[in-house]
Symmetry: C2
Subunit: 536 residues, 2 copies
């Protein structure tokens, strides 16, 4: 069997756990029929068009010849169907053809896409990032030129950050932008790890590129953001940007990961000079949530495949799903998936509500906690398959390979931990985190171990706020994981009062025993201190 979008679980996470309907005040057009219709439409595309080309895309991969990147078979047709259904426009600005619906809804659609085909899902995901960056930072003429076609999906967008000598550290990037007489810039340099940086699925590709204007200050305060279209809009002529290499990766084989050469390409400044990182962070915040969701999505796909296998594979006279340890693996995955799903949707609802503090706090949790979950659930999915899990044909292995990128890109999970500790926690001295802890306490009647987990998080927050910075950094990853355990568990618990929550109550019991009961024991790792880590 192949993937079937879990509409009921998605709706439960949105409506019962993430308080989706609170958005009705800001989005008056929202109603149940619309939600149901959108999720069913997305499910149809995911189940029928995207899932069937996931394994074939993994096998075929992509190729580069004479600057042309050829996608895996079926991807162009699938993208055409995706574009025609208008999925990119859901949460975009109505002034440019968008539907002005909540991002949470757009994210729910994206979940089904990423579960069905993560390689494919990266293409619209990057376009969505470009759309948001232009909506927030583009000049009116830039919006007029690009937004409509990005929102309709006619053109695709990319993010160009990383350079060979500068991975996570954007401050040292060297791509150059030289001002031209006509107000544009000539962009020169090399960018690596550019997802869907080149392809023929759309007639044009809009690259958002970080570069340094000649004479700009050194470091991260001298970086600007540019639009570099593959084809110039005025005359349709080809710009001096091309893909000069594709990475051989462990997974997401059908997603081209390009090395892009900018050879005096014509680009236009987005926003202010030297404020490029701030603009890029807009895009990255949204991308980080989307990557967190990829973790949930790949976990769901892996879970479904393992569950189906366990229901059909006989062993010792019975189906393997009758073995308690197989059930343990399946339920552990499913419980964490439902909790992680709620965490992602709650982050989007916070963004849609304009609750910036909550959005900022939850974003690194969603990115890191859910992508760790993606790897864990994909690994459990392999294990449930036994020997077949290691055979590529069975498909479980692909999820395990694909899932592994998500803890790395859009800022490694270690960087998410630094973001949570150094930026989010410190900027309000823990206020948003304390609010989250209060929520956990309020929901703690619904799970045996939620209260002690919340107390541990409270205690850990005290520690992080008062620890010397090096000690805080030493504990930051475990602190993030503890916060994720509590936040996702709280959201799972909050949905339980609904009448139809019986199967979710069973998942809460699992989550309680395997996650919340273990959460307080993260304190030793959080408080380990930088000194203990010197021994490496």
């Amino acid at each position: 069997m192949t993937y079937a979008a879990p509409i009921a679980d998605i709706r439960f996470a949105l409506e019962a756990a993430a308080d989706f309907w609170s958005l009705r005040a800001r989005f008056p057009d929202l109603d149940e029929d619309l939600l149901a219709a959108i999720l069913e439409g997305a499910a149809q595309l995911a189940n029928d068009a995207l899932a069937p080309i996931n394994r074939s895309g993994d096998l075929a991969g992509v190729s580069l010849q004479d600057d042309v990147v050829t996608a895996a078979p079926g991807f162009a047709e699938a993208y055409a169907a995706y574009r025609e259904a208008g999925w990119l426009s859901l949460s975009a600005d109505p002034a440019y053809g968008g539907q002005g619906l909540p991002r949470a809804l757009s994210l729910a659609v994206m979940e089904t896409v990423q579960s069905a085909n993560m390689s494919f899902g990266l293409l619209p995901m990057l376009s969505l990032g470009a759309i948001e960056a232009l909506e927030q930072h583009g000049a009116p003429d830039q919006k007029a030129l690009y937004l409509g076609k990005l929102i309709s999906g006619e053109w695709a967008g990319t993010m160009n950050l990383t350079e060979p000598q500068a991975g996570s550290d954007l401050g040292v990037l060297t791509t150059k932008a030289v001002p031209q007489a006509d107000g544009s810039y000539a962009i020169s340099g090399q960018k690596i790890f550019i997802t869907w940086g080149e392809h023929e699925l759309t007639p044009n590709i809009i690259h958002l590129v970080l570069a340094r204007i000649e004479g700009a200050p050194a470091g991260s305060k001298g970086i600007s953001l540019f639009i570099v279209p593959k084809f110039r809009d005025e005359d349709g002529s080809r710009n001096a940007v091309r893909c000069i290499g594709l990475e051989e990766k462990m997974g997401i084989h059908a997603s081209p990961t390009c090395t892009m050469a900018y050879e005096g390409a014509q680009g236009w400044l987005v926003g202010e000079e030297n404020r490029g990182l701030a603009a890029m962070f807009t895009m990255m915040n949204s991308a980080r949530l989307n990557v967190g969701l990829q973790g949930v999505a790949i976990a769901e796909a892996a879970y479904q495949k393992a569950h189906a296998y366990a229901q059909e594979r006989k062993q010792s006279g019975g189906l393997i799903i009758t073995h308690p340890d197989v059930r343990r693996m399946l339920l552990l995955a499913r419980a964490k998936i439902q909790a992680g799903r709620a965490l992602c949707y709650a982050t989007a609802v916070a963004a849609d509500s304009g609750d910036k503090a909550r959005e900022d706090l939850l974003t690194p949790l969603a990115k890191a906690w859910c992508t760790e979950l993606g790897v864990e659930a994909a690994s459990l999915g392999v294990q449930v398959h036994g020997g077949m899990g290691f055979i590529e044909e069975a498909g479980a292995a692909q999820f395990y390979r694909d899932a592994r990128i998500a803890p790395i890109y859009e800022g490694t999970n270690g960087i998410q931990a630094i973001d949570l500790y150094g930026r989010k926690l410190m900027s309000d001295r823990g206020e948003a985190m304390r609010a989250l802890i209060a929520e956990a306490h309020a929901a703690s009647g619904k799970a045996l171990h939620l209260k002690e987990a919340a107390q541990a998080l409270d205690h850990a927050t005290d520690y992080m706020l008062s620890a010397p910075r090096e000690d805080g950094l030493a504990g930051a990853f475990e602190y993030l994981m503890l916060a994720g355990d509590v936040a996702a568990g709280t959201l799972l618990a909050q949905g339980l009062s609904r009448d139809d929550a019986k199967d979710k109550r069973a998942l809460m019991e699992i989550y309680d025993a395997y996650v919340l009961a273990r959460a307080p024991s993260r304190l030793a790792g959080i408080k380990i201190g930088a000194g203990a880590l010197k021994a490496v």
Copy 2:
């Protein structure tokens, strides 16, 4: 950089943690010079001959044409070097050319082989299993015919258990053995997942095959073990066994995983009729420990690569190894590796000492706990690499792919948990486990959290001994992991009194915070009960 055998760490685990020198009473030839010479010789082979063909073997894989399996380039030469050095003979019976040294020593050699090249390592590992099975169950004439050539490495051995319809459940296997007039049997059936089932690295291959003699009782009590040589020993004629397919796997690409067709192949009974499973378990016990060691070995290789990368990769003005979270990942891996290594060697020392109860108890811990570690450390290794971790060329990804098989084969880790609970724990009503707990208490002065972890294991043991069987099975995996946490931590702690243990004391601190402090919280999962797992 490539792999360099960690001789000091191996010696520390053997000598300080696993009490290797207690074997001198049984092995009077043992001395420090011998140990040092053997480890240096093994290291040289691993570093210089095996590690250099690990990545190329992954890329080239193996191929099958006209019943002939072609190994990856360089593997035949590497095997010749391995054979010539006599590594297979270390712990084998001196009556057949073996050196009669402890298995613990043979295991230490094998660690370096598996770290350097897991695909290669499987070939001698399977031969060792065949050697042990024949040493213990073969008739004198069988020993005379086969043991010498297996021990010298001239011929290779295989294990043929799994059939398409029977994975972990050997009771339902259908391969048939029909008695012939000359006392041999005609073996017919299909076996799958046969590691190094066919190759040209040795002029003959000795298959050990489970089959059912015509008219034998149904189920596991009707299974017998047979020797089926690829070429008959009397006249060198080709036997009717051939490889009819190779699996496309996620990892260990250079190790051929064969589907073997037995088409009336001539075979000879090993041991008694219908007692084949017992004989196979001999072989599997040793193989399980070897697979556990593979977990440690692949973790070590992944750690070394990540450590080297972190020391050379610059980021934010410094090397990434200066980041506390990178140090956390490296140290977490290294601490668990050193503990897992001690666990494997202690299991071998127990076998060498004739302490069957301890060997039996530790074997499932070594297999399951250490193979989970292999996956975890390989995943951490990828993460330390950042984006490069996902690029195949960097090599971290291969470890992540290769490591994933170890929790599955030789009995999935779920099956190890059932073995620990249903067989090992129940057979002596916890006596061997209580002895282990007493050891932990004795060592608990050396680690902050060892005492509470040991108490939790004691409590969990009470629970497992008194719980209804279904509830015991529901908690068995977490119980095994808790026992592994404690056993490996105890062994790590036991080595610390040595003068040269300074860096190991630092690892103990890490292990204490990230593993032992978390161990008691496994109780909730252990005691979850079968009822909570019904919801799947």
